[in-house]
């Protein structure tokens, strides 16, 4: 055991001022006083000059608003270091303190307390001596919890106060194998048919091979008719996807389809009733933007004492871990180190973090995200106003660096269209929504019950959206925006987009393993919606083929091309050419206008070039589905230097 009882000047001062005869009176600035323990704590801290009167006053105001412990508020606002608070509490409660930094207890002892109870109470058995277990606790346990712990361990315990961050880290170290196992294997074990760990099932392979064989046989026997059939089927799919998107857009243009949350409703929220909210932030090789991330989370309009921020780092990402540690963040920021194992994906990290989550609700933000400050409160109001089957609230995503270059402008236009028009319309229609990668707020218990994210799916968000829907839950859209960093480099963009398209194909394959069962679960209408939504990936695959045919025909008037488009096929293809192209271009224009991004409207007109990039990325993802299905094409962030653009209000 390393040093358990560190000391310093403040501790010494704290010890001195706790002598009853020397205790000063409560300062006059404290107009509103907390409970007796809080009063004693404040008195102690002021006497020790650990905090200023102004800081105490601000903390007391927040205490009155939220009812949270003054000491926790002071720490959350960085007015007081956690270790000083622990020192003060140890004096108040006459408990010894313990430092757990770098300490690894005997696993057999540490795991005596069941993980769930240990996590809830923030307590870890660290040693045993003379039949008494030393229990490191973040806060002194009340009698009832103490009894429960002793019954669970089968020994009497002695409490030692510890830094909350150190307890948290120790819990992670003690239970890391358990967490890692669940993060990777849980869905695969409990719902193997929903996991993408098998890319394509044997039955699907057989079906696919049968179809391919049938096409080959037909092509040999009736080559012309076969080609016409293929072109016809492709054209109809293309047309159906286009019409579906147009229909959604027109619906969204005509009405406000988001779940309505007014500023007055947000203002009317009583902070005392606000639940603990978990924020999961997966980070990988993003040391450079950690400071900005912390700033943006600090900007959230939510009591910090009710935030549970999980900074999810991969074990091999030493640089990011070191930066986070160096920031000496308050305890509502939790550094979570995800053990290095395959698949090394964002959903696995999120699953890992979800097991440690203490919030009633949880949300994912990416490292570079800048959510509207009131987004958490809006989500809470939305959950309260929505029907009971709403388990997810999706905020809108857009970019803060849309003006950086043409690519970011196109990307912003596409996101505006998707999040301002298409998704709200789908949400209003209660259709299965492919969730966005971030800013989706969940009821934590429901998310756990569903098995959380599929770690083998590289668009785990889209997959989860559909799994929610299959279980009878619904997703609501709220009119709150999270600004992200748009990819500003073509190569980086291609990597990101190829992953999305690969994931869409993965998701489609997973949920189409039993099409009839899927229809039975979600109905024909939503089945069609699901296929038309994910069908956009197939459209992107087909684009280059049709562009080539059209160009060749325009240049050569080749007869064989004409023969591929007889009658109705020609009608579908013509409508696809005329209507489809227009629809996809105009949707981008409409999305940017709807969001008031007038500056990028003109770039939306050049979006056909953007489609070329999209098809390129889609083919890359499609091929990778066969060669490296679980590979997570990492998106590099922080390429927006000098283009801060805008942030959410």
């Amino acid at each position: 055991m390393t040093s358990l009882l560190p000391g310093d000047d403040v501790r010494t001062r704290l010890r001195t001022v706790t002598a009853p005869a020397e205790a000063p009176e409560a300062p006059a600035v404290v107009h509103a006083t907390p409970d007796p323990e809080g009063t004693r704590l404040v008195t102690l801290l002021l006497a020790a000059e650990a905090v200023t009167e102004e800081q105490v006053e601000a903390a007391l105001v927040e205490h009155l608003r939220t009812g949270d412990a003054v000491g926790d508020i002071l720490v959350a606002h960085r007015a007081l270091a956690e270790e000083y608070l622990v020192a003060a509490l140890s004096q108040l409660h006459q408990l010894q303190r313990v430092s757990l930094r770098g300490y690894t207890p005997d696993a057999a002892i540490a795991q005596r307390l069941p993980e769930r109870l240990a996590r809830r109470l923030q307590a870890v058995p660290i040693a045993e001596a003379d039949g008494v277990v030393l229990l490191a606790v973040a806060r002194p346990l009340d009698d009832e919890d103490l009894l429960r712990v002793e019954e669970s361990i089968g020994r009497s315990v002695r409490q030692l106060l510890a830094d909350r961050r150190e307890i948290d880290q120790l819990l992670q170290r003690v239970h890391r194998d358990h967490y890692a196992d669940l993060a990777t294997q849980h869905l695969m074990r409990t719902q193997p048919q929903m996991s993408a760990h098998v890319v394509i099932t044997t039955a699907q392979k057989a079906g696919l091979i049968a179809v391919l064989l049938a096409v080959v046989v037909c092509a040999v026997v009736r080559p012309g008719a076969t080609m016409v059939g293929l072109v016809g089927a492709a054209s109809l799919l293309y047309l159906a996807v286009s019409v579906y998107r147009l229909r959604l857009t027109l619906r969204a243009l005509g009405a406000s389809l988001e779940t309505d949350v007014t500023d007055a409703e947000v203002a009317a929220l009583d902070d005392r009733d606000l639940p603990m909210y978990t924020i999961l932030v997966p980070l990988y090789k993003e040391a450079g933007i950690v400071r900005r991330l912390v700033r943006d989370i600090d900007d959230l309009d939510y009591p910090r004492t009710r935030l549970d921020v999980k900074l999810l780092c991969e074990e091999d990402d030493v640089e990011t871990i070191e930066v986070i540690e160096s920031l000496d963040l308050p305890p509502h920021f939790h550094l979570v180190v995800v053990p290095d194992s395959q698949p090394k994906t964002k959903p696995k990290a999120c699953n890992y973090g979800l097991q440690l989550a203490t919030g009633r609700y949880c949300v994912i933000f990416d490292a570079e995200d800048r959510p509207d400050p009131d987004q958490l409160k809006k989500a809470i109001v939305a959950f309260r106003n929505a029907p009971g089957n709403v388990a997810c609230v999706q905020a809108k995503l857009n970019f803060f660096n849309q003006d950086q270059n043409l690519l970011t402008a196109w990307f912003a236009g596409e996101y505006s269209m998707h999040f301002e028009l298409v998704l709200p319309a789908m949400g209003a229609a209660e259709a299965p929504i492919p969730l966005g990668g971030t800013s989706n707020h969940f009821v934590t218990a429901t998310l756990r019950e569903l098995g959380a994210w599929d770690p083998f799916n590289v668009t785990e968000d889209a997959d989860l959206g559909l799994r929610l829907h299959r279980e009878g839950y619904r997703t609501a859209m709220i009119d709150s925006i999270t600004l992200e960093e748009a990819n500003s480099q073509v190569g980086n963009w291609i990597r990101q987009r190829s992953r999305w398209n690969k994931g869409y194909l993965q998701t489609w394959l997973v949920h189409m393993r039993h099409p009839l069962r899927l229809i039975g679960e979600i109905g024909v209408r939503d089945f069609v919606s699901f296929n038309l939504t994910l069908g956009s990936a197939f459209v992107l695959l087909m684009n280059p083929i049709f562009w080539t045919l059209t160009t060749m025909y325009a240049l050569t008037r080749a007869g064989f091309i004409e023969q591929l488009f007889p009658g109705v096929v020609f009608y579908a293809a013509s409508a696809m050419l005329v209507v489809g192209n227009f629809v996809f271009t105009y949707l981008n224009v409409a999305g940017s206008l709807q969001r008031g991004q007038f500056g990028i409207t003109r770039t939306a007109l050049m979006s056909p070039i953007y489609w070329g990039l999209m098809s390129w990325a889609c083919w890359k993802g499609f091929l990778q589905l066969f060669t490296n299905p679980f590979y997570w094409e990492k998106t590099e962030h922080g390429l927006d230097a000098g283009h801060e653009g805008e942030v959410a209000a």
């Binding site: 900005r292 700033r295 105009y586 007038f598 409207t601 805008e646």
Partner: protein, 561 residues
């Protein structure tokens, strides 16, 4: 945290800078889908019933409608089905939008499809007008008064019930203008997009919509500029408004280039009009407005006065659109861009624009709004007998006087229109009935579909015909010069001036060719048999394709002669 990080622009700050409502939903009138549906159903039923009575019982049939319906029938049921049947003679969507009506051949054969082809669009126009009236904050009785008084205008009734293409494009133009009004009232940017889409579709249903679109562009940019919008907002909004129309124009231009070799063929067309002398155009235009839409003479100056005096940009924009509606026929006549200079049909657009302008005046004049609306109703009611008289006497028309005669005198089968066109549909019905009863082999009747479309439509079997759409003019011409090798029968118009096949076989068209014996004859058509051994005489006429094309185009422009 002592590091200083840049503080970017906040989203709400940016949204607050926008003149238009973005990031929030402005207040607007309540949505009333059932009221809209009721208005639509009322006018659709009324115009279909009136049209059915005029067409089916009084035999006042506009052949231009039959032509477009036959083209859509060929889109579905030709052998092979051909989208190309839509052709380039009309704005493509004025034909293509009728396609749902001919999916079922039995309905296509029925003359009831003719009034439907316009009644649905006229009803859509009335629905848009009702929404506009609601945005003008007029009470229900006044709204009903305006709609009924306008809907009962004889000119409106005729074009709404006769299958004419006027209301096809007007329905989109009025919807687009209505969306612009909604945008002006609410500042909701979504209405700009809806307006842009309406004008785009409208452009492909009637090229004249482009003129209103142009005014719309100026209006959007002007209003935003006057309100102090930033250049990005002005540009972005204008681009958003203009994109759909620019896209369809570019696309149609490309198609014209690709398929006709002339990118602006859709503008210049192949019109045979000699136009009107410049000196007559002004007087004729004035007469068109006075006779057809006298309301415009009051509304136009009123809009200008209100626009200037109250700095009401929309009033000025609507004045511009009304002025364009009045001037467009004159310009078309001057530039020889139409076969029917200063035709009475042009008055419908002027009348509708005048009503839209009047409704906006009612909104703009707030306190006197109801008075203005009342005046509008009174003016529309008074103009009903006036318009009735105009339809009888106005010189540039098709079947308007015949429609009036149908109301006053009964069945018009065999009558002659003021333009000299023969009225009636009996010849087509008789020939179609005979063909349906006796011909079964596909592609066995060679015909010039540009002239015999009425017969083809009423058979409901375009697949029986070997026409110019099937495999193009070259293949058709080959068959025309060697019919025995291709078909069993020739369907010829008696009028050899326009029918290409009749021009090749004038004697057969007259029923006097001993080698091509008539098997069925009516006043307008003759169906002759082609013996397997038939060989065209060496001195038989040869097809002049240039003249033929012009003839075929002209043939679709109005009633048969």
């Amino acid at each position: 945290m002592t590091e200083v990080m840049p503080q970017p622009i906040r989203r709400r700050d940016r949204e607050a800078q926008a003149v238009q409502a973005v990031g929030r939903r402005p207040s607007d009138i309540e949505r009333r889908p059932w009221e809209s549906a009721a208005v639509f159903a009322l006018f659709a039923l009324a115009y279909t019933a009136i049209g059915g009575w005029l067409v089916v019982q009084r035999h006042v049939v506009g052949f231009e409608a039959l032509d477009r319906l036959n083209r859509t029938l060929m889109v579905w049921h030709n052998d092979p089905p051909k989208l190309a049947a839509v052709g380039f003679d009309h704005a493509p969507l004025s034909t293509l939008l009728l396609a749902p009506l001919t999916v079922v051949p039995a309905l296509a054969r029925s003359l009831w499809v003719v009034p439907l082809a316009s009644a649905l669009f006229a009803a859509g126009t009335m629905t848009s007008l009702n929404t506009l009236l609601r945005r003008a904050l007029l009470p229900a009785p006044l709204r009903a008064g305006v709609l009924l008084a306008l809907g009962a205008n004889p000119l409106v009734v005729w074009y709404a019930a006769s299958g004419a293409r006027e209301f096809v494009w007007l329905s989109f133009a009025v919807a687009g203008i209505g969306a612009l009004v909604a945008w002006y009232v609410t500042a909701d940017v979504r209405f700009v997009m809806i307006a842009g889409l309406c004008f785009a579709v409208g452009t492909l249903t009637g090229y004249g919509t482009l003129a209103f679109f142009g005014i719309g562009v100026a209006l959007v940019a002007g209003v935003l500029g006057r309100l102090g919008a930033g250049s990005d907002e002005v540009e972005g909004t204008t681009v958003g408004f203009a994109t759909p129309a620019v896209y369809v124009v570019a696309l149609w231009t490309a198609f014209n280039l690709l398929l006709l070799g002339d990118p602006i063929a859709w503008v210049t067309g192949q019109h045979q009009s000699t136009g009107l002398p410049a000196g007559e155009i002004l007087g004729a235009t004035l007469r068109l407005v006075v006779d057809g839409a006298p309301l415009a003479l009051v509304v136009l100056p009123a809009l200008v006065v209100v626009g200037v005096a109250r700095r009401n940009a929309l009033a000025l924009g609507l004045a511009g659109m009304l002025a364009v509606a009045i001037a467009a026929p004159a310009v078309a006549a001057w530039l020889h861009l139409t076969d029917e200079p200063l035709h009475l049909r042009n008055a419908v657009a002027v009348l509708l624009l005048a009503v839209v302008g009047g409704v906006w005046l009612a909104r703009a004049l707030e306190e006197q709004g109801r008075l203005v609306a009342g005046g509008l109703v009174a003016a529309l009611l008074v103009s009903i007998p006036w318009t009735f008289h105009t339809m009888r006497t106005y010189p540039y028309q098709d079947l308007e006087s015949v429609a009036v005669a149908a109301v006053t005198d009964g069945d018009q089968e065999g009558a002659t229109a003021m333009s000299g066109a023969a009225v009636g549909i009996a010849d087509e019905q008789e020939m179609a009935a005979w063909i349906r009863a006796h011909v079964t082999r596909r592609g066995s009747i060679l015909t010039d579909n540009a002239q015999t479309f009425g017969v083809m439509l009423l058979t409901g079997r375009p697949d029986l015909f070997d026409d110019r759409v099937d495999a193009g003019d070259a293949a058709w011409s080959a068959a025309a010069h060697d019919p025995a090798g291709h078909v069993d029968l020739l369907l010829l118009s008696r009028d050899t001036s326009r029918d290409l096949l009749s021009r090749l076989y004038p004697a057969a068209a007259a029923g006097t060719d001993p080698a091509l014996v008539p098997v069925m004859t009516t006043d307008r058509y003759v169906l002759v048999g082609v013996p397997a051994t038939y060989v065209r005489p060496d001195d038989a006429p040869v097809l002049d394709t240039t003249a033929a094309d012009a003839a075929s185009t002209a043939s679709t422009a109005g009633a048969t002669s």
